[in-house]
């Protein structure tokens, strides 16, 4: 594990990342590319806001009726011949997978990319049993060999350059490979082809599960997920309990939103709907298929009005690509399986241990780029504030900040105290003001003034000069035109009729 993951706080890990010039450039380059890809793909599709709203509605509806749809899915999958399992915790899911592997006397498991598997630390569990576990997505394979964890939901090795990758792969090859993408990818193709054909078990995640038919759907570009679901005799699918959508018809909406949001593609090169194990007379496909349906903290969001929408997430990574903080610090700085804005909210929410994820929710400027990018409109920027509030409510706030905010409340309750505070500032700043600005880096000014200059307070605040200003205005006020008056009256009427939603948006 890298130094980044060992550092204890987001702040410390971010500092390491900020000093890693390559990392910052690599992450910036790729996220910018993905971000502009998304922009093009969504405008090519057109009516993007309608699609987003539809995607959100489908997810909201499914989660609101999750017991019905999940039950339907489980029954249908079983009718298709799938062994369905339910796991309350990650440990339970790992246990089930291990039991299957043991029964099958599996020596090798080939895997396609799955964030749930990362969440459960499945690989290390299987490897402790002596089972060779091979990630087959190109990026995942690389970071597995490097002994690292993914730093992006979609591009796991976003933080590595091709020279680093060539070194990692050369060790496996037993010869120095040229740091050329085609050469490196070609080596992996050849190497993993043998593994696909020989592995005992194929293990996948699940992008969507179709309730009405019991099918599981995978999106991918490389073909490795198809290999994993076609060649080994046994297939195990790890599925978060919220992956459900009602029908294939609904899949069209997800297929419109997911690839465009993730990589700016119209659709991924492969989209596979697997409905049960191979049919009796088929000559490929798994003979036995298991789906492990996993809770692991997901159900804690149900019935929580502030966080239930987290379960709508389709794991596209668009919020990572849009996030200016992620761009500067990369995924490992977040310290959890999921990074970026979704990770900052999901990690503490799944674990219900806000206090332990000390500053992760603070690593955001609340700019809302994540919400704007989200294909199912999850208000992540608001959830971050709710997390911060819960931390304070549970008494895990920072002491100095507690006192400071209490003081804030007391001052802001009264204009008198507020004005007194401003006056105090006007007088007190004299110690540090030079030529109308403050450049001192002492005490609380350090963070701000390390890269900035603070303006000084002018002699008079607005409220101190308003009276004079108002007198002048009153003397020379123009008459309001009838046009302006009628427009204002119309606006007043609109305001009265308007039923703003909670936390609603603009006047359009």
């Amino acid at each position: 594990m890298s130094a980044k993951a060992e550092a204890r706080t987001v702040k410390a890990r971010a500092e390491l990342a900020l000093n890693d010039d390559f990392l910052r450039k690599a992450v910036k380059f790729t996220t910018e590319r993905l971000r502009s890809g998304k922009k093009n793909a969504s405008s090519e599709q057109g009516n993007w806001e309608d699609w987003r709203e539809r995607g959100r509605q489908i997810r909201l509806h499914t989660i609101a009726n999750l017991d019905y749809y999940l039950n339907l899915f489980a029954n249908n999958a079983r009718a298709n011949g799938v062994q369905v399992h339910f796991a309350d915790t990650g440990a339970e899911a790992v246990q089930i997978a291990m039991e299957i592997a043991e029964r099958k006397r599996a020596k090798t498991v080939v895997k396609s990319k799955s964030m749930v598997s990362e969440e459960l630390h499945m690989n290390s569990a299987l490897e402790r049993m002596g089972i060779e576990t091979i990630e087959t997505d190109l990026g995942e394979y690389i970071i597995q060999l490097a002994g690292e964890t993914p730093s992006h939901i979609i591009i796991p090795a976003i933080h590595k350059n091709r020279y680093q990758i060539a070194d990692v792969l050369s060790k496996v090859a037993g010869e120095q490979l040229e740091a050329d993408t085609t050469v490196l990818a070609g080596f992996v193709r050849k190497k993993l082809r043998e593994n696909f054909l020989e592995a005992d078990i194929g293990m996948t995640g699940c992008n969507f599960a179709i309730a009405e038919t019991g099918s599981m759907v995978l999106f991918e570009n490389e073909g490795n997920a198809r290999m994993v679901t076609t060649l080994p005799k046994t297939q195990i699918t790890l599925m978060g309990m919220e992956r459900i959508i009602p029908s294939f018809e609904d899949l069209e909406v997800m297929a419109t939103l997911l690839p465009r949001s993730a990589t700016g593609q119209r659709i991924t090169m492969y989209m596979s709907a697997i409905t049960g194990p191979r049919r009796e007379a088929d000559a490929d496909g798994p003979e036995e298929m298991h789906i492990i349906i996993i809770d692991n903290g997901r159900s804690l969001q149900l019935g929580d009005p502030e966080f239930q929408e987290l379960l709508n997430c389709i794991r596209c990574g668009a919020c990572l690509n849009a996030c200016p903080v992620y761009r500067h610090i990369g995924g490992h700085a977040y310290g959890g399986t999921y990074s970026g804005p979704i990770g900052a909210v999901l990690t503490p929410a799944l674990n219900k241990n806000v206090a332990e994820w000390d500053d992760i929710a603070n690593a955001s400027s609340l700019c809302g780029a994540c919400y704007e990018a989200c294909p199912v409109k999850i208000p992540l920027h608001e959830m971050l504030v709710y997390l911060r509030r819960r931390k304070v409510e549970q008494g895990h706030g920072n002491k100095a900040e507690n006192a400071g905010m209490k003081g804030f409340g007391t001052v802001m309750r009264s204009a008198k105290r507020y004005s007194a505070a401003v006056r105090m500032g006007q007088l007190g700043q004299k110690l540090v003001v030079r030529g109308g600005e403050i450049r001192s880096k002492l005490g609380p000014l350090k963070g701000w003034n390390s890269v900035r200059v603070l303006p000084s307070l002018p002699k008079q605040s607005f409220r101190q000069r308003f009276k004079t200003l108002d007198e002048e205005i009153r003397a020379g006020l123009q008459e309001m035109s009838p046009d302006v008056r009628s427009r204002m009256e119309e606006a007043l009427k609109r305001q009265r009729d308007e039923k703003p939603e909670q936390g609603g948006h603009g006047h359009g």
């Binding site: 903080v325 400027s365 507690n402 204009a415 507020y418 006020l477 936390g503």
Partner: protein
């Protein structure tokens, strides 16, 4: 009709010229901006940090201050955006919740009011400079104020508007974020200032003094001669009102 100015604490204490610009600009359309003196801060610093009790104390003051106003106009999309959070903040207090909803419905960011309510697209200003515009996140994303400032800028004579690269990226202010996560914030503001520099603009204009204080502070630190101003100031200056 009572049109009230919600000055915001930053413009009150540090940038009073922005308030003056708004007062003078609206007076031209026959509106005498009223200023309830009991107003303080919208409460955002406490709200965003998770201290909602403190935020409520501040917010309750704002609710009182503008109780009998017909329109509440502020020079900040972020502080107006905070008012949009009031219903959530008071969701368990039926009396204040009702007041919060009313305030939300009548609150406007300055250009929203000017363009969408008053129907003013051309203020009749002349500003012979190269200008770039930073759309602040809360105003543009959460309130949807995107076209209004463009309309106003397009109608300023002799003004050369240069597009800001990656304009929609956050400047890294984020209130207490700039202090708590100073390193990340510094990286973000430096990137933003780089983009401003790339445009070779003489003036950086925006709708939120917090972001402008942040970007301007960095430009000043680097001794970049870019003037930073609120759009209200630019329009008032261009119209000879300031």
């Amino acid at each position: 009709m009572k049109v009230s100015l919600f000055i915001t604490c930053l413009s009150d204490a540090i940038y009073p010229r922005v308030g003056e610009a708004m007062v003078r600009l609206l007076a031209r359309h026959g509106i005498r901006l009223e200023f309830p003196e009991i107003q303080t801060c919208c409460g955002q610093p406490a709200f965003n940090s998770g201290y909602w009790d403190a935020a409520r104390e501040s917010a309750a003051t704002i609710l009182r201050a503008f109780d009998d106003s017909d329109f509440v106009i502020s020079p900040s999309g972020s502080c107006t955006g905070m008012i949009h959070h009031y219903p959530k903040l008071f969701e368990h207090d039926s009396v204040l919740l009702e007041k919060a909803r009313k305030l939300q419905a009548k609150s406007y960011e300055f250009t929203q009011f000017l363009v969408n309510v008053l129907g003013v697209a051309d203020i009749g200003a002349t500003f012979p400079h190269k200008v770039t515009y930073h759309p602040s996140c809360h105003g543009s994303r959460l309130l949807g104020v995107k076209d209004e400032p463009m309309t106003l800028l397009d109608n300023v004579k002799e003004l050369e508007l240069v597009p800001l690269p990656f304009a929609e990226d956050c400047c890294g202010f984020g209130g207490t974020f700039a202090v708590k996560m100073a390193d990340i914030s510094a990286a973000m503001v430096s990137e933003k200032a780089d983009h401003v520099k790339e445009t070779e603009a003489e003036v950086l204009v925006g709708l939120d003094m917090a972001c402008l204080m942040n970007i301007g502070g960095n430009l000043r630190y680097r001794n970049e001669p870019v003037r930073v101003m609120h759009l209200a100031e630019l329009l008032a200056e261009g119209a000879g009102l300031l």
